[in-house]
């Protein structure tokens, strides 16, 4: 897990060309932010504000149209997409194992090590008994968990997650929130976690970045005890963080647009 570089964005902008029109869609503008190695950041903002776009930039799946950013090593990145994105013709197990198998050409993981990691990841998301199922035999939330397991099995130093738990019931989500915290505490990957949920952001992260209409609107530090327990939901700091994030989201003073 060591050697995750700091991610830095400098006046970053991103526009999408628009079909049938000269004007471009500006998805992100003037984003300056840094994500130190081992930090846990939540990205919060309303639908369409550019969260997914920012995550794809960080993963090197898109290039910025303005500004610059630190170089990306894609083999360092685990990505959970907003939709499950599984191979329909491969089983749950094979879907989780595939990136490891592909990367194996360079990393030289032993088959047994791959198997251990895949089973561990499947157990973590509670799908160890469905390893042989095909994606179409799973519910939406289960597919999302397979997608999560696929990213975790890679044990990446950088974990980019796009609303990974949005499709899950609250109980499963709380459990996975805690599991994610545990993984983070154990392995210290850099986590950037997109969510719609103010409480989830406040519960998980050390810091929340509020994005509105493509601009970075506020950065909120979340004061939390050294040792994480689920009592944090009752702590005054948690409520303070929730209030601060909500306020930044509702703030009538729009950013630059």
């Amino acid at each position: 897990m060591t050697g995750a570089p700091e991610l830095a964005l400098n006046n970053l902008g991103l526009s999408y060309p628009q079909r049938g029109s000269e004007a471009e869609v500006v998805a992100l503008r003037d984003i300056t932010a840094s994500f130190p190695a081992g930090s846990f950041t939540a990205l919060v903002g309303p639908s369409g504000c550019g969260k997914s776009s920012l995550l794809r930039l960080l993963a090197g799946l898109l290039s910025p149209t303005q500004g610059d950013m630190s170089a990306v090593t894609q083999s360092d990145i685990g990505f959970v997409f907003q939709e499950p994105t599984l191979l329909a013709w491969r089983s749950v197990y094979e879907n989780v194992a595939l990136p490891l198998k592909i990367a194996n050409r360079k990393s030289g993981l032993r088959a047994q090590e791959i198997d251990t990691r895949v089973r561990e990841a499947l157990t973590l998301v509670g799908l160890e008994t469905r390893a042989k199922a095909l994606p179409r035999e799973l519910s939406g939330g289960m597919k999302m968990r397979v997608s999560l397991a696929r990213a975790l099995a890679k044990r990446p130093p950088i974990l980019l997650m796009d609303e990974p738990f949005a499709a899950l019931d609250e109980l499963t989500r709380f459990r996975l929130d805690d599991d994610l915290r545990a993984i983070w505490q154990r392995q210290k990957p850099t986590i950037i976690f997109v969510t719609h949920s103010v409480t989830e952001a406040a519960y998980l992260a050390e810091r929340a970045l509020v994005i509105r209409a493509g601009s970075l609107h506020a950065e909120i530090k979340i004061e939390r005890p050294k040792k994480h327990t689920d009592n944090f939901r009752a702590a005054p700091n948690f409520h303070a963080a929730c209030a601060a994030i909500s306020q930044a989201l509702a703030d009538p003073k729009e950013g630059t647009s």
Binding site: Q74, L87, P99
Partner: protein, 260 residues
């Protein structure tokens, strides 16, 4: 059980039609060289069984070879086209030209160039020209239809171009490729028949040639028998490919999902 009975309906319709045919031929006394009754066609089939089977084999071989090359060349070209946009831009107009020019018009040339010492090879080439285009276009479309986010998964896994092809694009393209194969299979047979017609002489002795021959001799019952064998060949080809499609896709593809 109900589903099985429903499947018997076409069979029943066929038998009824044959019955009506047989009866009306006898009642109206149509000359046998205009419209032979099914019984006469049956007799012709039995009487000429050896020659007809020989011809069936010739046509089947041409069809199969043309189909095989259509699959191989269509897929290979599709893979090249989807990897190198420039090659696609450069070659596509010529592929289209080959496709839209009526094959009957090209066939004499091919027969002169290739058929000079090997008629069968010329026939295969003609049938291949007819057959390969749907395979190409469907494979291209299939290879392009992969969900972009799955490509992102491959990119982040560090997949090489052939890993991307093998793990993602080819399986994702399978449904489209099988559709293309089904169309190409039917066209290969049509192409083989057209080729035999154009070749026209006794150099090749497939079913189409038997049809011409029987027509010239006014052996209409034999003509019908050859025609029936051609249809049977086409039907067998179509259902074999449908079966293959079902075997390959039924596990994961939505179009074969059981419920709703």
């Amino acid at each position: 059980m109900r589903a099985f009975l429903l499947r018997l309906i076409p069979l029943g319709v066929g038998i009824a039609m044959l019955g009506i045919w047989e009866l009306s031929v006898h009642l109206t006394q149509v000359p046998i060289f205009v419209l032979p009754p099914p019984s006469a066609i049956g007799h012709a089939l039995v009487d000429n069984f050896a020659t007809l089977m020989g011809s069936l084999w010739v046509t089947l071989r041409i069809t199969a070879l043309a189909f095989f090359w259509a699959l191989v060349s269509g897929l290979a070209l599709a893979i090249i086209f989807t990897r190198a946009r420039l090659i696609e831009l450069a070659l596509y107009p010529y592929v289209v030209t080959l496709q839209v020019t009526p094959v009957v018009a090209i066939a004499p040339l091919i027969l002169i160039w290739v058929g000079f010492d090997n008629v069968d090879r010329a026939l295969v080439i003609i049938a291949w020209i007819v057959a390969f285009f749907p395979m190409l276009t469907n494979a291209v479309q299939g290879l392009r239809s992969t969900e972009p986010q799955l490509h992102d998964v491959m990119t982040l896994a560090g997949a090489s171009w052939w890993q991307r092809l093998y793990y993602l694009e080819l399986p994702a393209a399978l449904p489209a490729m099988l559709t293309g194969a089904k169309i190409s299979g039917g066209l290969a047979l049509i192409g083989a028949v057209v080729a035999e017609f154009v070749a026209g002489s006794g150099a090749s002795t497939g079913l189409a040639w038997r049809i011409i021959e029987a027509g010239n001799r006014l052996e209409i019952a034999t003509l019908f028998a050859a025609l029936a064998l051609l249809s049977a060949l086409g039907i067998a080809l179509f259902y074999a490919l449908t079966l293959l499609e079902w075997l390959v896709l039924r596990r994961w593809h939505d179009s074969f999902a059981k419920s709703p």
